[in-house]
């Protein structure tokens, strides 16, 4: 495979560094433009196996609020985002729910948990 250069925008934080990735024979050979190690890690992943954190909400029973916000504890493959949403929308949590509580142990077969990002006390 020939050398290939990809231009990316880092999504690690709101700085949004412009990254340049050199790929040779499917291997990442050089990453530039990043201001921190997260940028390099993102660039490598983005050209080989792009992933995202998915955030959404889940219904709560018996809580002071009807919904609790959630996120995937780690990033999941981009291709699994909509399967992940389907699973998340089937879940109902029981109050009390606290930040970090697991509301779904394995989302869309990724082995990644979905955790609460807000506290909802029972009423």
């Amino acid at each position: 495979m020939a050398k290939e250069i990809k231009e990316l925008t880092c999504i690690g934080c709101p700085l949004g560094c412009a990254l340049t990735v050199e790929i040779d024979g499917g291997e990442v050979v050089k990453i530039s433009g990043n201001t921190c190690p997260r940028g390099a890690a993102y660039a490598e992943k983005e050209v080989t196996n792009p992933t995202r954190i998915v955030t959404s909400t889940v219904k709560v029973e018996g809580g002071e609020k009807a919904f609790v916000s959630v996120k995937t504890k780690e990033d999941i493959p981009k291709s699994k985002i909509f399967d992940c949403m389907k699973d998340i929308n089937k879940v109902t949590a029981k109050a009390p729910v606290h930040i970090g509580d697991v509301v779904l142990a394995d989302v869309a077969g990724t082995k990644v948990a979905v955790v609460a990002t807000k506290n909802v006390e029972a009423v």
Binding site: T9, A18, T57, K59, F67, V70, I99, T117
Partner: protein, 420 residues
């Protein structure tokens, strides 16, 4: 009348950080007044991730970020009142507020910290022609409906304006099953952060049409569609470029305006560019002992910077309460010109400033391979190259007290953008 050393108006990220830092400076008598039913402000509806990398060195969602500061405020035993609306603040710092338990009440404050945040520019401010059917929301209203109340505003969506909330909502509505057809932006560049264009639009194949705006609204009871047109360099629609999009929902993400009715009411001087109070190096407004921080001061892109700024406001308010304000030292104006639209603060008293002071500003257009230049009087003292600068992303410079003190007869500091 009750009395507090510091009254903080607003229990969002700015108010919480200001309260915590003032308490850490030893001020016991602090009261936060919050109009919503919980602390945390707008972060409660920002359920997406990307917050806190600067402050906590990890990536948090909005509610998690707020949660850290709410916990801190509670641990520190800081008093707060929810569901409480501040009606008025007098020039002498008498705060009039009301809620269902206490009715209407007044509080004498020694210092006031303004942390009311901002609100969204509405359709009325845009003069979009056409009927006024249901289905037109500000992006933030839609965000609250979807993320907190559990309602979907519609199924087929067009978004006008590429501010961050609009971009975030393009993704959010898509994830919840809506079809987001297009994001239109009047300007030739996006008002949002680059990363949000990548992960909210590009990821989902949502087109971004720059230099486009809505020229007609179709539908009487419920929105049926909108007409987009390209705009020329003069900002006016180009005839013949009209394109119809059927949709039941139009989200507006067309800018944020600091919410300064209370500040104006008490006589605080407002900056015409930021729509926020004019402040000095201590984030103190034109009224002694009244401080401002967060989006009420100027609209930020990053909550981390809000927390940092609010922490300084809290420290300075605490200083004011314990020591009283010292006599004014020599005043140095900071002038934003040639590409730089404004600076916060707008002037500094060198004697009163910290050893290192961050001055934040925005540029007025997109600049490529240009320099941020700082002049003391007429001498250029700083010249820093940036590959890209855009109005959607806040810039900063740092001023060192030592250098300012050593500079003979310093009258003005000028910030400008230069090609070379």
């Amino acid at each position: 009348m009750k009395a507090y050393d510091i009254v903080i108006v607003g229990g969002g990220p700015a108010g919480l950080a200001a309260a915590a830092s003032a308490r850490e400076q030893g001020i016991q008598s602090i009261l936060i007044l919050e109009r919503d039913k919980e602390l945390g402000g707008i972060l409660n509806q920002c359920i997406h991730n990307g917050f806190g990398l600067h402050t906590f060195k990890e990536e948090l969602t909005g509610p998690e970020y707020a949660g850290r500061f709410i916990d801190k405020v509670k641990e520190l035993g800081i008093e707060y009142k929810l569901n409480t609306m501040v009606m008025d603040i007098s020039h002498d710092k008498v705060v009039t507020a009301m809620n269902r338990e206490d009715g209407m009440f007044t509080i004498q404050a020694k210092a006031v910290i303004l942390a009311m945040g901002c609100r969204e520019r509405s359709r009325g401010a845009l003069n979009i022609p056409g009927y006024r059917p249901a289905g037109i929301f500000s992006a933030g209203t839609a965000q609250r409906l979807v993320n907190m109340e559990g309602y979907m505003p519609g199924k087929e969506v067009v978004i006008l304006g590429s501010g961050d909330i609009g971009l975030i909502m393009a993704r959010r509505m898509t994830l919840e099953g809506a079809k987001v057809k297009v994001v239109a932006e009047l300007m030739p560049y996006s008002g949002g952060l680059k990363r949000n264009i990548v992960q909210c639009l590009d990821d989902y194949g949502i087109p971004l049409k720059l230099s486009h705006t809505v020229v007609d609204i179709d539908g009487k009871e419920r929105l049926k569609g909108i007409t987009l047109a390209e705009v020329g360099p003069d900002g006016k629609p180009i005839p013949g470029t009209e394109e119809y999009y059927s949709c039941d929902t139009l989200l507006l993400s067309v800018g944020l305006i600091p919410e300064n009715e209370l500040s104006r009411g008490m006589g605080v001087e407002i900056d015409r560019v930021t729509s926020g109070p004019v402040v000095n190096e201590s984030l103190e407004t034109s009224i002694e002992g009244v401080f401002a921080c967060g989006n009420v001061l100027h609209v930020h892109d990053l909550v981390d910077y809000v927390s940092e700024e609010a922490t300084r406001a809290g420290i300075n308010a605490a200083k004011y309460v314990t020591a009283g304000e010292k006599a004014e030292g020599s005043k140095v104006d900071i002038i934003a010109t040639e590409g730089a639209r404004y600076t916060v603060p707008r002037f500094i008293r060198v004697d009163q400033m910290d050893d290192l002071l961050t001055v934040r500003f925005r540029v007025g257009a997109v600049f490529k391979d240009s320099y941020i230049s700082v002049y003391y009087n007429d001498e250029r003292v700083m010249h820093r190259k940036k590959p890209v600068m855009a109005p959607g992303e806040m810039e900063e410079i740092k001023l060192q007290k030592e250098k300012l003190q050593a500079y003979p007869d310093l009258k003005t500091i000028t910030v400008k953008i230069e090609k070379e």
